[in-house]
Amino acid sequence: MGYLDKSTITVDAILTNRGRELLSQGTGTGNFQITKFAVADDEVDYGLYNTAHPLGSNYYGAVIENMPVLEATPDETQIMRYKLVTITGNDLTRFGSVVIPQIVIQGTTLPANKTIYLYFDPTQGTNTITIRPITTYTDSSSETESVYTLMLADSTLASVEVVNPATGLVSANNRGSIVANGLEFNIKALNKTGTTSVSIYGGSSGAVYNFTLSTTASA
């Protein structure tokens, strides 16, 4: 028995549902191949960083640093929601100060409750919505990222088609959610009433946009 090397933090990872699904198909190309990592801080509230701490600057982050961290969940649609991001070069200064980008859905104005309604009875209203995300920094500065990831939690309510690039309908994973990569998506209501969540992530920025999708037969 030896002493653990404490210069390295060691943590155990768990497979996500998607990871388990791919692992069952093997570890060859296109299946279970881990190639990169990202870092998140889902449960951190930066409002707890207290620059007025009575013990001084060493304690500004004490509350955050001592908070308990929850265990991982295997549902890939519910974890890694808020990713840490590396910002370098001109982006550190070009807006005067560092800006965290946000995603906007072009051509669609969401109501205040951020709920999109789709009607699977086409006589009652639209049954399909086109999602074309764009990443904005300021009112006058925006750009399209190389890829966006759209996650639909409940595939029994709607289908997702990637229309740019035109790769077609995306299959649900074994937990019934859909994860699609592309630049433009069509979400179409299926014949079932319900409410589910949709999240869109910028593939480079990590910016996230969440809305609720409600499917119904009639208004």
Partner: protein, 357 residues
């Protein structure tokens, strides 16, 4: 765009060689290592009892799990009705012997052999697949049997480091010998009572050796064995003749012997073994990376979303979660840190993420 959330692993530097670790747990339901009572299912016995008995860890099969099965095999169908006496006979004892012979013995080997002597019949203990995981942990199991000579316990001789060689499909097969986990092999009796095939989760016992040593007395003759001693719960040796006209349930005697041993305080103790493949991913958070966050509490305003005032001059973030992705941006594995790790332009972090599968 100079925003980036992903860092590519460099295989040679960041991913260590895969290696296998052996993990052992209790063999029985709930990862318990000791089974002190077993129960049969009347439904299972009615459906397939002439071939084998499933043994449960609870009285109700609907709320308990199969732990292992017990069967009896005879090379020429002894104890089963012949087709001459029963045209509908399924020859269960011959089926069982042939089945295990074909699976466990080398090609063209006709019979199991114990102590250098071929055996026409065998008892089989077959661990349920869900309990087994990958293998029985050799050297860490103990079977108790009761009979007219008392309670006897059996272990394997894997501690001697010599596997049984020849005429076997597997190469890590050990003899079943008299002994206990606490005292080791019983040196005064080096007789082999059978063979354990850890990778198959199967124990093959010699009925003649077990019967004479433990004292499985009496013959069930041509009477249905499961009803012969219903009140006495007495273990007995199997009937091996050819005069049977109905199914004899030859394994009933071994079930009663195991059950009787458990009732007398000698449980069936065993562990399962499983090789876990581990891959280490070294996550290096360099000083210039991951110093900003998309966390909605990290910024203020809506357009633009400006970083909170304390982090504008000296950006600080707190990492709690590492996600491992493939090239399709699919999250395949996730690890949580035990506490938030501060990251800033003057701090780096090296995190080793271990993934077992």
């Amino acid at each position: 765009m100079a925003y980036n959330i992903f860092t590519q692993f460099v295989a040679a530097d960041d991913i260590t060689t895969i290696r296998a670790n052996e993990v052992t747990t209790g063999l029985w339901t709930g990862d318990t290592g000791s089974l002190s009572a077993v129960y049969t299912s009347s439904v299972q016995v009615a459906n397939s009892g002439e071939f084998y008995y499933d043994l449960y860890n609870g009285a109700s099969p609907t709320t308990s799990d199969i732990q292992f099965s017990v069967a009896y095999g005879h090379v020429s169908g002894g104890g089963s009705p012949t087709l001459a006496t029963n045209a509908n006979s399924t020859l269960p004892t011959q089926v069982i012997y042939s089945q295990y012979r074909n699976i466990l013995l080398a090609e063209d080997v006709e019979k199991f052999s114990f102590n250098g002597v071929d055996s026409n019949d065998i008892y089989v203990i077959n661990i349920q697949r869900a309990r087994l995981k990958q293998a029985i942990d050799p050297g860490n199991w103990q079977l108790g049997l009761s009979g007219s000579n008392g309670i006897f316990t059996f272990i394997d001789n894997s501690g001697l480091g010599t596997a049984v060689a020849g005429n076997l499909v597997a190469n890590n097969v050990y003899e079943i010998r008299s002994g206990s986990l606490t005292a080791g092999l019983y040196t005064a009796n080096t007789q082999s009572f059978g063979l354990v095939f850890p990778d198959f989760g199967v124990m093959i016992l010699s009925p003649s050796a077990i019967s004479s040593s433990v004292g499985l007395t009496g013959s069930n003759s041509v009477v249905d064995a499961k009803t012969k001693y219903p009140a006495l719960n007495q273990p007995y040796a199997p009937y091996t003749g050819s005069a049977a006209t109905s199914y004899q349930y030859q394994h009933e005697g071994l079930v009663r012997s195991i059950s009787g041993s458990m009732a007398a305080g000698s449980p069936f103790i065993a562990r399962s073994a499983e090789s876990i493949t581990s891959t280490n991913y070294f996550v290096r958070l360099k000083n210039s990376n991951y110093n900003y966050s998309n966390n909605p509490t990290y910024y203020t305003g809506s357009n633009p979303q400006n970083v909170l005032e304390p982090f504008r001059v000296k950006p600080i973030t707190y990492a709690t979660t590492i996600g491992l992705y493939n090239d399709q941006n699919e999250l395949l594995a996730v690890a949580k840190l035990s506490r938030p790790v501060q990251k800033s332009t003057d701090k780096e972090a090296l995190i080793r993420v271990r993934l077992d599968y």
